[in-house]
């Protein structure tokens, strides 16, 4: 799905989004009630470079500085972070963190943030973009991942076939929308048949001030213990003070 097709289905009442440098886009869209939504995005599966991260973060900072608390929808089709010596030398970790921080700050500042993943996102780029928003929606065909299975096979020194077999029994490590949704990363996956416009408007109204992805993972059975462990730590924290 192209960004324009996606925008048209999400915001049939209108959108004015322009391509920025380095495979980014930015602009505005109108909801059916006439309310405005800010759009920021990355396209064409571009590996996330310092340039892209700083461009996206800059757009979001300007939105927050605007002070209108407009909802922000992030349209994501990236890859992993760009893997070059130069980017690491320049502190790619800071650029990715800066982007994640700015998206999070927008949420804390009263902007509803929703990421719509319509392509790929992997590893650190996934964390800095799609996973940084309060809510993550995937579109059928989206491909989120931490690392592809052949690479996991190499690092864990397990044969690929064995890994593929294990992936059938648990969503804990395999790439893709289904396992990631089971662990709570993805709120909803929309298919071709869905009315994206209705859906996004519903999602934008959801309360999202706290991070409930571990609860979701527990409910869906993909992350059975994370939420309860976090709760136990929190419960003990006060006791440990005394």
């Amino acid at each position: 799905m192209t960004p324009v097709e996606l925008l048209t289905r999400l915001f049939p009442s209108g959108h004015e989004v322009v391509a920025g440098p380095f495979n980014t886009l930015a602009g505005r869209a109108i909801l059916t009630d006439g309310a405005a939504v800010e759009i920021v995005g990355v396209t064409d599966g571009a590996p996330l470079s310092p340039e892209i991260a700083i461009e996206l973060a800059g757009s979001i900072i300007r939105i927050v500085q605007d002070g209108k608390k407009t909802p922000i929808v992030l349209l994501i089709d990236t890859a992993s972070q760009r893997m070059t010596r130069r980017d690491e030398m320049l502190g790619l970790n800071e650029y990715l963190a800066h982007l994640a921080k700015v998206v999070t700050l927008a949420g804390l500042s009263g902007h509803r943030t929703v990421a719509v993943l319509y392509g790929a996102a992997a590893a650190g780029a996934f964390i800095a973009t799609a996973l940084a928003a309060q809510t993550l929606i995937t579109i059928d065909g989206a491909h989120p991942s931490v690392m592809d299975l052949p690479s996991i096979a190499r690092v864990t020194k397990l044969p690929l076939e064995i890994l593929e077999k294990k992936a059938e029994t648990t969503p804990i490590f395999a790439p893709g929308v289904t396992p990631l949704a089971a662990t709570g990363a993805v709120l909803e996956n929309w298919t071709e048949a869905d009315n994206f416009s209705d859906r996004i408007e519903t999602v934008l109204t959801l309360e999202a001030s706290s991070d409930t992805r571990d609860t979701l993972g527990e409910e869906r059975g993909g992350r059975k213990v994370a939420h309860s462990v976090a709760l136990r730590v929190a419960a003990e924290f006060g006791k440990a003070a005394r």
Binding site: I54, A57, G58, I61, V64, Q65, Q81, M83, T84, R85, E88, M89, L90, G91, N93, E94, Y95, L96, A97, H98, A100, K101, V102, T104, L105, A123, G124, F126, I127, L131, A132, V146, S151, V155, T156, L158, K166, T170, P171, I172, F173, P179, T183, G184, A185, D211, D214, G217, K224, V225, A226, V229, A230, V233, A234, E236, F237, G238, A240, A241
Partner: protein, 309 residues
């Protein structure tokens, strides 16, 4: 007999996570939460026929630093590379959320000390680990938004790689030693994907020039540079919790400016000595080799402190 510059006191790099905590906090003040006897362990390692650890490689709790309460999180880099996973991550996230909730109450703490020693996400639990990093980022920024500084301490064998590199840069203040490394994609992974011409991971001097403590602090990717002993980390942790930037729009705008300037100033450099030469360092080639005292003197001359993190 032994030269003074050779650290004889416990070395951060060599210490276990538990020993780092002991050395960092006031004596006898550490209270561990979900300690080893609780046996809160990874439910997934068995699938891979791997031995678990009683604490899943993360130790969390609270204690005191110079008499003031702090929360503390330490990754054990020797167990599964100190990785973020379902349980290890949930312990971090749970503690950070509790710190935010307790802000301003009698249970509140003066700072969070985050002892990173991690290769990033545990690939056997890749999805849970990835989410744990994302949840850590959000919970950590919640702590900062509540006015409590989070101090990252980096100097372990595993460094702060992958999601660990991102988490590090989300902290209010980063303390690092010469051996510390911060990066997203590790040199081996870049070499595997892009070839040894792009990044020769066996050239360790190069690895350190790109990711190491000195390069990071000179570029502004870390804030305090310390000698490699536990006592120096303790002193830096105590100092820095009072001087940490708040997590605000102003700080982020300043960071935007700082990072944009870095790209435009050094974006065409291939190696850090080029950056240092351009930044006006007298003898850039010598930076990795001078001793810690000389390097600290060089840092204090240059005053590269910033409040944009």
């Amino acid at each position: 007999m032994i030269p003074e510059e050779i650290v004889r006191s416990p070395s951060w790099y060599e210490s276990s996570a538990r020993n780092r905590i002991t050395g960092l906090l006031d004596a006898e003040t550490f209270r561990e939460i979900l300690g080893p006897a609780e046996r809160v362990m990874s439910p997934h390692l068995e699938l891979f026929d791997l031995p678990p650890a009683f604490d899943d490689g993360v130790i969390v709790g609270r204690g005191q630093l110079d008499g003031k309460p702090v929360a503390i999180i330490a990754q054990e880099g020797q167990f599964m590379g100190g990785t973020f996973a379902e349980v290890s991550g949930a312990k971090i996230v749970g503690l950070l959320r509790a710190v935010t909730a307790s802000a301003g109450t009698p249970d509140g703490v003066s700072a969070v000390l985050l002892l990173l020693d991690t290769g990033g996400v545990r690939l056997q639990e890749a999805n849970a680990g990835e989410l744990a990093v994302s949840e850590t980022v959000r919970a950590l920024l919640g702590v900062r938004a509540a006015g409590i500084p989070v101090v990252a301490l980096v100097g372990g064998r595993a460094g702060a790689f992958g999601g660990g590199g991102i988490v590090t840069a989300c902290c209010s203040h980063v303390v690092i030693s010469e051996q510390g490394r911060i990066s997203v994609t590790g040199p081996e992974v870049i070499e595997t994907n892009k070839g040894a011409e792009e990044f020769d991971s066996r050239d360790r001097a190069l690895v350190w020039r790109i990711t190491g403590g000195r390069s990071r602090v000179l570029l502004g990717g870390a804030d305090s540079y310390v000698k490699g002993d536990v006592a120096s980390f303790r002193a830096a942790a105590a100092r820095s919790r009072n001087a940490a930037p708040p997590f605000t729009l102003e700080t982020m705008a300043a960071e935007q400016d700082r990072l944009e300037k870095r790209l435009s100033s050094y974006g065409d450099c291939r190696d850090t000595p080029e950056i240092w030469a351009r930044a006006g360092l007298a003898d850039p080639a010598s930076v990795p080799d001078i001793d810690d005292d000389a390097f600290l003197a060089l840092l204090s001359e240059r005053e590269i402190k910033h409040d944009a993190r």
